[in-house]
């Protein structure tokens, strides 16, 4: 162990390596329910070359490596299931390029959502990126690599769809560029080359370490608005979303259902966020959205909630700061959610299941969804709060999550950024040839199996 520390210190410097109990403890878990797994070392590289050298050492000595963004995945994907190195990427947080005309940004993998958001506001106020509702310390690379979604996902899909290119360090130490940046100094797209980005998206860090990436940027509108469409009938939601997304004027559409505050209980709320360059354009968009669901308004089975300007503000905030407060519902600092990627058709069933599980297991819940693309699919979330000081309460939330994961898979959905046990549920349903292909690819990329072992594995 001492020799390994020496090697790591030689690469990144003593102040950025720790094998101390304090770091091993804090880096053994995330804020979710998954049990702790201690790393042997925490290392913070400062550039791609340092990552490369660390992976060469790890590969030679067969030391597991777990890349870490902000550690906010909640499903325990960045725990060192088999010990080894946690590679904390936060020092690599430089914003390398913003191409205003071609609307993309090139950033290092430790760049946070908040840092890019602030940088664009200051230097490129006409541009924005799609930020998730995760806290602003969440990294762009982390969110892209797990197929995250965010405030422009109705307009532009998963965050991985907004990826233009990658620089990755392979487990064997080679540095590869993927996308247009492989052949050009511009990071404008992944097409028309063979799209190898998929080798690093959705793999839970088991195929390599992303060190740089380019993401698409979008117009930042001067005028922004939100409407909240409300109904009590879950079976209407797929068609409501189909109609509203068909107008293609919104940037983001989310639904939410929660027992608190009291006025919200029993209602299904659909938030529609849209922006425009002029007031006239904003009104025109608002009218288009309204017209798309006028039939339901006329039938008096749904309608827009009256929202004074002051009430709109929290719904326009990106990211929504208040979302984290769900962790304090049980005055216990914890929540975790199953984010199920599924077709919008399944909304009524998904909703019913969520209510049933929360009621049966007596857990505090919040349910909702984010539309991905033009109603192409949704991320339906089942969030359960827990008190981390009460092991029985943590266990209850764990049980709710496990059960939800299982039901989601059986329903035809796929848990997003799934916990290691949920990954096994997915593998259970997966075409065996796909899983075999995954293993063959991994064997080529990572012959010694050092990258985040314990993930995407069968029992």
């Amino acid at each position: 162990m001492k020799k390994i520390v020496e090697k790591l210190v030689n690469i990144v410097g003593a102040e950025f390596v720790s094998d101390q109990p304090e770091e091993r403890y804090i880096y053994s878990m995330d804020p979710g329910t998954m049990p702790p797994r201690e790393p042997d070392f925490v290392v913070m590289p400062g550039n791609c070359e340092e990552v490369r050298q660390i992976l060469i050492v790890a590969n030679r000595d067969e030391i597991p490596v777990v890349p870490l963004g902000a550690g906010l995945v909640l499903s325990g994907l960045t725990r060192a299931l088999k010990g080894g190195i946690i590679l904390d990427m936060k020092r690599m947080n430089r914003i390398l390029e913003v191409n205003e005309t071609s609307r993309y940004a090139v950033v290092e993998a430790g760049t946070s959502q908040g840092m890019l958001q602030a940088y664009l506001k200051k230097h490129h106020p006409n541009l924005k990126h799609s930020a998730p509702d995760a806290p602003p310390v969440a990294t762009i690379a982390g969110n892209v690599s797990i197929h995250g979604s965010g405030h422009l996902s109705h307009a532009a899909g998963f965050h991985s769809d907004m990826l233009n290119g990658l620089e990755v360090v392979l487990p064997t130490g080679e540095v590869a560029r993927i996308g247009s940046c492989a052949t050009s100094s511009y990071w404008f797209s992944r097409a028309p080359l063979p799209d190898l980005a998929g080798l690093f998206l959705g793999w839970a860090g088991t195929t390599g370490v992303i060190t740089k990436l380019a993401i698409k940027l979008y117009p930042s509108y001067k005028y922004n608005d939100v409407g909240i469409f409300v109904t009590e009938e879950a079976q209407l939601i797929p068609d409501i979303l189909h109609r509203m997304t068909g107008t293609q004027v919104a940037e983001d559409m989310t639904t939410w259902m929660a027992p608190k505050p009291d006025w919200a209980k029993g209602f299904l709320h659909c938030d529609i966020n849209f922006g425009a360059n002029t007031k006239d354009e904003l009104i025109w968009k608002r009218n288009l959205i309204r017209a798309s669901v006028q039939e339901y308004i006329d039938q008096k089975v749904a309608g827009f909630m009256p929202l004074p300007p002051a009430m709109k503000q929290p719904f326009l905030e990106v990211p929504a700061r208040t979302l984290s407060r769900f962790a304090d519902v049980r005055r216990g600092g914890g929540f975790e959610y199953v984010g199920a990627i599924m077709p919008v058709d399944l909304f009524p069933e998904a909703y019913k299941v969520g209510l049933e599980i929360a009621d049966r297991l007596n857990v505090n819940y919040s349910l909702g969804s984010r539309i991905i693309g033009v109603n192409h699919c949704m991320m339906f979330f089942y969030a359960y709060a827990f008190n981390r000081a009460d092991p029985a309460d943590v266990e209850r939330a764990q049980k709710a999550l496990e059960e939800t994961n299982r039901i989601v898979v059986d329903m035809g959905g796929i848990p997003w950024k799934a916990e290691a046990p949920a990954q096994k549920e997915i593998i259970r349903k997966m075409d065996p040839n796909m899983f075999d292909l995954m293993n063959r690819i991994r064997a080529v990329l990572d012959p010694k199996g050092i990258m985040n072992p314990g993930n995407w594995e069968e029992d």
Partner: protein, 388 residues
Amino acid sequence: MQYEEILHRCFRCGYCKLPGNYIDFNCPAYLAFCFETYSPGGRMWLLRAWLDKKIETTDRFQEILFSCVNCGNCVEQCTFPKFKDQLLLAFMAGKEELVNAGKVPPAVRDCLTNYQNHGNPYGFARKKRHGWAEDLEVDRFSEHEYLFFPGDVGSYDSRGQEICRSVARLLKANGISFGIFGADEVSDGNEVNAMGETELFKYLAEENIKTFNASQVKKIITLSPHAYNAIKNDYPRFGGQYQVFHYAQILAPIIKQQTYKSDAPPMRVTYHDSCYLGRHNGEYWSARTLLSSLPGIQLVEMDRNMQNALCCGGGGGNIFTDILGSGANNPTRTRVREAAETAAEVLAVACPLCAVMFEDAVKVERLDGRIEVKEISEIAAEIIDKAS
């Protein structure tokens, strides 16, 4: 441990690491060390683990706790109402536990010993406390309207003394009736309290209160925002009830009322908010009012200003203990780089601790010649002297 019931309630969402505009990390210790353990959330969870005996009282654990400089950014940015108000109190309670167990970093131990033995963090003789005023005609407090309280840095540090003299001169020039106690006062104790030595803080506070009350002090002007904080917010619970002002609050309305004419070239200035004026006491405008009342001052803001200001790194006793070290990411160096990015020629401060911290950092960052650290009364005196 006090506040131990809140430790597990931190979700570690990380808003506390950032300023409100998210532009960069804004927790001084986290900025300096980068490990999650040094973030407010990491510290909360470590304290819980320590109380549960999952973590020993190691040197590193001590360093992690004492790396908190009490800047209050975490309190400002935390998204959990009410809970947030107890964050710093929990960290101070954790330090208090270590102090009571006699397990603190050596630099903290030495610093606290100096406070204990000499009534100041430097270990200098108490009788030299009024050395700053020797070449000034400053009265001993008797029936003056105000007591002027210079604090430790203003009393003993050579740069602090310069600032103290400058403020005293400006107060005198504007007809403010004030006196001092010199060797009869001791440290305000703000940093002692921040370091968790609550009994020593109580002793220091009571010593000062005894002196103040014996002379029927009613109003106090402090040089240091740190003293302002302690005397205003903590002394009342020990029986010290005074009207407390930071000198900027006294000088700003006076200077604003006056008209100066000056042909001097314009001076581009960026103002750094001291944590104990700003976040801890909500005082953001007096220094800005003072500066913008002066002819030729062009005030520009840094990206992180007012409640989002990055701490100079000197609070929590760190100016004396240097737990945060001198690395490139330490908050002091980061802040002077940020100030220089505004193209300001002057980094203005209203706190002697900030001045001392930044002047060193300007040299380390080789920004001499590009930006100069000046205290606001010095800027005022310089401009007023040249003005008609």
